[in-house]
């Protein structure tokens, strides 16, 4: 609270920094206060740039990733800063003509073809491994909805002929390794179907209900280290084949499903200590719903640490779409080493909600996060956000519906939030329906998006105005997305209108 009484003046803050050391563990929070003074308040509208689809700044701020319009090429830029010189006092002059050029802010490093003839780069998919500066991209062929069920594939999930993941060294554009999945379905939109934790990558094959765990070696090789689904341990398959009785007609349930069922059985068994009532309880709670449990499929997976996965199970119809419907779903914590299910929760569980409220940051903690990545605002680390969440909870008409709605954000989607300090809720307030740390296209608004100081609630620190109006066009047809550099006062806002060229605006500190 002391900072509310200290001067917000930049020079004053610099002097304070000489005299006062930040509280222990709060060095980054203290330094981030300087972002209240250094804001991207100047906008260049409709900058002269190539017609590419700009995807994201990498979390270390070194690269800007873009894809060609035909979704076949990858183009990588390095953010530089506009530099110019004047003979006289610069402030009184307009910026030079070269300011309107994209090249003044970004230097193109290379353009490489990633997808071949009938494949397209999934422009929603991108994961970055900061320590080695490796980028993971995905290409796919067209989706087929009339998939025939093949051996091991489940019904109701479409099939894609080929999905290829490419590991690219962003420094020079060299493709280090690739991994292909054929006649499979992996949810590539917004990188939902994959999760990167340190050097471990998990890819969820929805069609074959398998979680592939790969390791990204320093050499750039993608090595599969584990496959969880039909079998849990590496030697399960060998064991079953060597012990299978000939003539046995039935087939086993997948290993992960068996683990799930046995957990539910043990938990239900322990709920009633009385022997005579136990069987009745089991019938009601377990056997009655047995087929529903068997029909559950893996929807989404994330790492909680190197040994534990957080898996969402649900029904087949909910798994493929990105809808936020609130059907029944389960969350399981799975230990890959012991192959045990540690715990299981329904998506309406108050107990899980209380963990979500208190420890949301731990769902996406990654030891390899850059310093700004460790300080992404959430309701678990910001009192204002928590207050807002609790207000919504208290106003909700149905507690279980509210909990289900909150649980839609779990498992966490890897690298889905911008670490930019301008989204820090302890520094700025902004309308989260219009803009937020989560990268999503939103409908365009006529009004500028204001970033208001938390310290001084009446002061608008800067605005992002979506763009010059293009006259008669319907604003509903416009979609806007914004890309913030992780630590510079630099942002791009990209305005897409149906049947019209994309407009890119650049916002920076002049």
């Amino acid at each position: 609270m002391a900072r509310f009484f200290r001067s917000g003046n930049l020079a004053s803050r610099v002097f304070d920094r000489q005299l006062l050391s930040p509280r222990r563990g709060a060095a980054v929070n203290t330094i981030r206060q300087f972002y209240e003074n250094l804001v991207p308040s100047y906008t260049i509208y409709d900058i002269d740039c190539p017609d590419y689809s700009f995807r994201k700044f990498t979390d270390d701020g070194k690269y800007l990733v873009a894809f060609s319009r035909n979704h076949q090429d990858l183009i990588v830029y390095r953010p530089i800063w506009l530099t110019y010189s004047c003979n006289e006092d610069c402030d009184s002059h307009d910026l030079p003509a070269k300011t309107k050029k994209f090249d003044s802010f970004f230097k193109q490093l290379y353009s490489i073809p990633l997808a071949s003839s009938n494949e397209y780069i999934c422009k929603d998919f991108f994961l970055y491994m900061e320590c080695n500066q490796f980028g993971l991209f995905a290409t796919s062929t067209a989706q087929r909805n009339d998939s025939t069920a093949t051996d091991g594939a489940i019904h109701g999930v479409p099939s894609i002929e080929k999905i290829t993941f490419y590991l690219v060294r962003l420094e020079d554009g060299v493709i280090l390794d690739e991994k292909a999945f054929c006649n499979d379905f992996i949810n590539l939109s917004h990188s939902i179907g994959a999760y990167l934790y340190e050097d471990l990558l998990c890819i969820v094959s929805l069609r074959y209900q398998t979680v592939h765990i790969l390791q990204i070696r320093d050499s750039g090789n993608l090595v599969e280290v584990r496959r969880i689904g039909a079998f849990c341990r590496e030697d399960d398959e060998l064991f079953l084949h060597s012990h299978a009785q000939t003539g046995y007609g039935g087939s086993f349930l997948p290993g992960i499903k068996q683990r799930l069922l046995s957990y539910i059985f043990r938990k239900t068994w322990n709920e009633v200590p009385d022997q005579t009532l136990r069987v009745q309880h089991l019938k009601k709670k377990f056997y009655f719903h047995f087929q529903d449990y068997v029909d559950l499929i893996i929807w989404k997976v994330q790492f909680l640490d190197r040994h534990h996965l957080f898996i969402k199970f649900g029904s087949v119809d909910g798994g493929v779409s990105r809808s936020t419907d609130q059907n029944l779903a389960f969350f399981a914590v799975y230990n890959m080493e012991t192959t045990d299910i540690v715990s299981l929760y329904e998506n309406s569980s108050e107990e899980l909600y209380s963990l979500f409220e208190q420890f949301y940051d731990h769902f996406h903690a990654n030891p390899q996060d850059s310093s700004h990545g460790k300080f992404i605002s959430s309701h678990s680390n910001d009192v204002h956000a928590l207050d807002q969440l609790r207000t919504i909870k208290n106003k909700a008409s149905s507690s279980s519906q509210f909990v289900k709605k909150m649980m839609v954000s779990l498992p966490y989607t890897c690298q889905s939030q911008s670490p930019s300090p301008y989204f820090d809720l302890s520094l700025f307030r902004y309308d989260e329906k219009l803009i937020s740390a989560i990268d999503r296209h939103r409908h365009c608004t006529e009004h500028p998006i204001k970033f208001i100081s938390v310290r001084q609630p009446n002061v608008v620190k800067f605005k992002i105005k979506p763009g010059s109006d293009s006259g008669a066009s319907d604003s509903r047809a416009k979609r806007i997305s914004s890309l913030f550099h992780p630590f510079f006062p630099l942002a791009l806002s990209i305005q897409q209108t149906y049947m019209q060229p994309t407009v890119v605006n650049i916002h920076f500190r002049r």
Binding site: R266, K267, N270, E271, V272, P273, D274, Q275, L304, D305, H308, V333, V342, S343, E351, L355, F359, H362, F363, A365
Partner: protein
């Protein structure tokens, strides 16, 4: 008599009976060693922390993060087999014995026993 320590204060304190204090302190085995004080019995209650004697107070780094620890703890509580309640108590009674000859819910158990 020797001056002890750098500060004049401690020197002053020690001037009277230095030898006695030295001997007293060493015998006490105080973790403060032979530091001077007015009375050798001061700080004698202090015991050097011995991790092997009290393992519960040793601070260690837990490999698992707090979220996982909560998942494990809650799960252990659920999977621990519940102790069957004694015959003359029904769980709904909040562990209270029914007073009269037949309690409301207790009646069920009492007829079976």
């Amino acid at each position: 008599m020797e001056e002890m320590g750098a500060s004049p204060e401690s020197g002053t304190a020690c001037r009277e009976g230095t030898n006695k204090e030295d001997g007293g302190r060493a015998e006490m085995g105080s973790p403060l060693g032979a530091w001077p004080s007015y009375n050798p019995h001061n700080f004698s209650q202090l015991v050097r922390a011995d991790p092997s004697a009290q393992p519960s107070v040793v601070i260690t780094t837990e490999a698992r993060n707090i979220l996982l620890r909560h998942f494990y703890r809650k799960s252990e509580e659920k999977l621990r087999p519940k102790r069957a309640a004694p015959d003359n108590l029904a769980p709904e009674n909040n562990n209270k014995q029914p007073r009269g000859p037949v309690g409301d819910v207790g009646g069920q158990s009492s007829t079976s026993s």
